[in-house]
Each structure stands twice: as C-alpha cells, then as structure tokens.
C-alpha cells in the first residue's frame, strides 16, 4: 500500500531529531544546525516515499516462549509470547520511507557534506518512526471496530526477540512487503524501514502490557 496522502502530512518532530543526534533534552543547537534541520524537515515530503503493509493473523497457540501463528509462522521470544497469550490476533507489519532519502544521504556524504548527510539521515530515521505511529493508528482503528484494543509495537532485534526472526515476520507478510526486501543477513532494504507486530485483544488485557520495568537493559533506546 503506497500512500501519497500520508506523504503530505509527514510531520517531523524536530525535537526528536535533535535528541537522536545526541542533543538530549537540554543541548542547544547552533543557529546553522537549527536552520538546516528545519529546512530538511519542511521539505521531507519530497524525499520520502512512504509505503506500508500489514496482515492480521490468528494466533493458534502459545507454548513456553513460542507462538504459533497461522501460515507456519513461529515467533520465538519470551516477551512476545507473554504478550500474545493475552491476544486473539496479531498484526504483522513492514513499512518504509523508501530508498530516495538514503540515496541523497549517500550523495551528500560522497560530496563531503557530512553535516547535511548526518542531519538528513537522522530526519529519515524520524520519518520511519512517524510512519510506524501512523500504521499503529490504522491497526488500532481496525481493532476498535471489532471492539478490541491494541498493544504497543514490538520489533525483532528488541527485547529477547532476535533479529533473525525477521524471516518469520516476512513469512507472515506473504507477498506484499511494501517494497521492502530482506537480505540473507536479515537487513531490510531500503534502510529506513521498520518491521514488527502489534497484539490485538481485549483492551484491558493488551494495552497495559509492558515488559520494560523488569528489564535489565536500562540504556535501551526502546525503553518505555
């Protein structure tokens, strides 16, 4: 599903972009960096080609840390198993902001314009996160129509869910992977792509699920 309507309402959170570049909450960007970020953020719609795809699958059973999903898909992760045992269904998604932005970043670094390249790269990452929120909202509305709620997003490579499980995510997706390709090394191309799942089930059971408070990885970027 390619979505030109989303493209025009891409709202880049410049605060997030600075955060991503290491400014934290109280770092003050210089005037030239500030205006560069603004300029790229305002023109991001010319650089992104947002595209996403998701499928909603039945959960057949959960045994230990393994979750059996229709279509011979098996997710292995304790965190994901504890989530999905509360759910009736699972939405599996892949999304991307496309390859053009990456090409421009590559060109900029090739021309020795590293400041521009680093800023645009960080904005691209933020754009991917923004699109993930959009997908989450869409799945949320669909669940709501059935009187159900949704969980937070989880992606292979976070918690105890290995990156190699990307293969199962892509198997669940079937043929429509929003133009994203998975390499043998489980890297998605284009680079600014995100994959993952969202649990669907009774609102009171799924919305509150959060494995972070008891997790040891205190500096994890995904900590919620």
């Amino acid at each position: 599903m390619s979505t030109s309507s989303i493209r025009n309402e891409f709202d880049i959170d410049t605060e997030q972009v600075f955060n991503r570049m290491g400014y934290g909450t109280d770092g003050v960007p210089s005037a030239r960096v500030e205006s560069l970020v603004r300029e790229y953020a305002d023109n991001i719609c010319h650089l992104v080609e947002p595209s996403y795809s998701y499928v909603i699958r039945d959960i057949n059973s959960v045994r230990g840390s393994r979750v059996f999903i229709e279509g011979s898909v098996i997710f292995r992760s304790n965190v994901i198993a504890r989530l999905l045992e509360r759910c009736q269904k699972v939405a599996v998604f892949v999304l991307t902001v496309g390859g053009r932005l990456g090409e421009v970043v590559h060109q900029l670094s090739g021309d020795g314009l590293m400041v521009q390249a680093a800023v645009l790269d960080a904005i691209g990452s933020d754009a991917a996160e923004t699109l993930a929120h959009v997908v989450q909202d869409i799945v949320g509305k669909e669940a709501e129509a059935d009187g159900l709620g949704i969980s937070q997003r989880f992606s292979p490579g976070y918690c105890d869910w290995r990156v190699s499980q990307q293969r199962m995510v892509f198997r669940a997706m079937g043929s429509d992977t929003a133009g994203v390709r998975l390499t043998d090394g489980c890297l998605m191309i284009p680079q600014k792509s995100i994959s993952g799942i969202i649990g669907i089930g009774p609102a009171d059971k799924v919305e509150s699920y959060n494995p972070c408070p008891t997790c040891e990885k205190r500096d994890c970027v995904g900590r919620r």
């Binding site: 590293m114 990156v163 190699s164 489980c186």
Partner: protein, 230 residues
C-alpha cells in the same frame, strides 16, 4: 594579515567549523571572512611552515573534541570542523607527499559484506581525516576478499570495520580469520564499531578494540601510537 594572525585564525575557524568564506560557523559575525580553506592557501603563499599549519589545525580539533565532551558541541558541529580540516589536508596532501612528511598513519575503513549501513562509517572516516590520518574508505557491503586484498597491497596501519546489526556483524569475525589465514593479522590493528557491537564481541573475535564513536577511535589510536613509541 601577519603570519601569526593566519595561524590564530586558522585554529579559530576550525573551532567555528567554517570550511570556506561563505559559511556561517557558530559565530555568525564571521560570515564573509576567510575560512579554513582560504586561510590554508594563504598560509602556503606566505610560506608558513607546514608543521605550524598542521599544528594549528590539530589544536583547533582538540578544542572541538573538548567542547564535544562537555556537550557544548554536538555531532553536527564536530562534523563541520572535521570537514574543514579534511579539506585543508587535501590541499596540503601533495606538499606533504613531496616533502616526504609522514601522516599519523593509514586507516582503511569498510562496512562489512552483507551490510549497507554507511552513515556511522562516514562520520568516523571524516573525523579521523580531521585528526590527521590518511583514510581510505572502501565503502559498504565490502567483500572480505577485497578487504584482505587491500591490507595485503596497501598495508594500512589500521583497519576499521562497521556493521549495524548482530546478524551482519558476524562478518567482522570472518574478516579477522581471513587476515590470519593470509598471514596479515599482525600487520594491521583492527578496530570495530556499530550499534550492535560491543567490547565483549571485540574480544570474542579477536579485534584490537571496540570504539563507541569517532572520538573514542582517535583516543584508541593515540594510545596505539604511544605504545609504539614508548
């Protein structure tokens, strides 16, 4: 402008991250005044000693490093400064070569086979260039044979390897094994980096160091140099 002025301004403009006269820098008042490129050319015209020019550039970068550590400067600021110094080094390169002046060392850097993540690698490359290393960027998704071949033919002092994910970093171990098999492992120090890589992983595969970022790499390289001279 006296020779002393040129040297002072050279350092100041590195700190400001002003590659050339059109750039703003941190302090906007400087716009229109000569930047690092113009000042380097001017210094050469005035026959200022190469050593003095390089010292001014390095002194500027040292201040940038300090400002980065104290969180006054951030990644874009340090990149602007490193870019400016990198450009100055390009101008000086032929003269350095003609005068047979040795650089701090040759650093080859690559994102390993199966991985295409390049922004981190490029940041490290420009920082090391700014610190006075001769950097050869081999690119992304670089086959192990190509890396080994480069080490064999060009004898870099250091090899930097980058990867984004735990599934792609394993190729770093493959590169180190291939270097051993070719009898080249002792000729080059291997530094590894990337979000999924760690100190433990460096030890596991027998790399010489894991670096969090480019400034860390500069510190590690300095310590290697000290070990060599002491």
């Amino acid at each position: 402008m006296t020779e002393g002025d040129i040297i002072v301004r050279l350092k100041e403009n590195v700190i400001q991250g002003r590659k050339n006269q059109d750039e703003e820098g941190i302090d906007e008042k400087l716009s229109g005044t000569p930047g690092v490129v113009e000042l380097t050319r001017l210094a050469l015209e005035k026959k200022i000693l190469l050593e003095e020019i390089i010292n001014a550039l390095t002194a500027g970068m040292t201040v940038v490093g300090e400002k980065y550590s104290s969180k006054e400067y951030f990644i874009p600021d340090m990149l602007a400064s490193a870019e400016a110094v990198g450009e100055a080094m390009e101008i000086l390169k032929p003269i350095l070569e003609a005068a047979n002046v040795e650089t701090k060392g040759k650093f080859a850097i690559a994102t390993v086979q199966g991985d295409i993540h390049d922004i981190g690698k490029n940041i490290v490359a420009i920082l090391l260039r700014g610190a006075g290393y001769e950097v050869n960027d081999l690119g992304t998704d670089v086959p192990t044979e190509k890396i080994v071949d480069f080490v064999k033919k060009e004898s870099p002092d250091y090899l930097g390897l980058s990867a984004l994910l735990t599934t792609t970093m394993t190729e770093m171990g493959v590169v180190i094994e291939a270097l051993k098999d070719s009898g080249l492992r002792d000729r080059v120090k291997v530094l590894i980096g990337g979000a999924a890589v760690s100190d433990e992983y460096a030890q596991e595969i027998g790399a010489d160091a894991y670096c969090v970022d480019g400034f860390h790499a500069i510190k590690v390289l300095d310590s290697f140099q000290q070990a060599k001279t002491s």
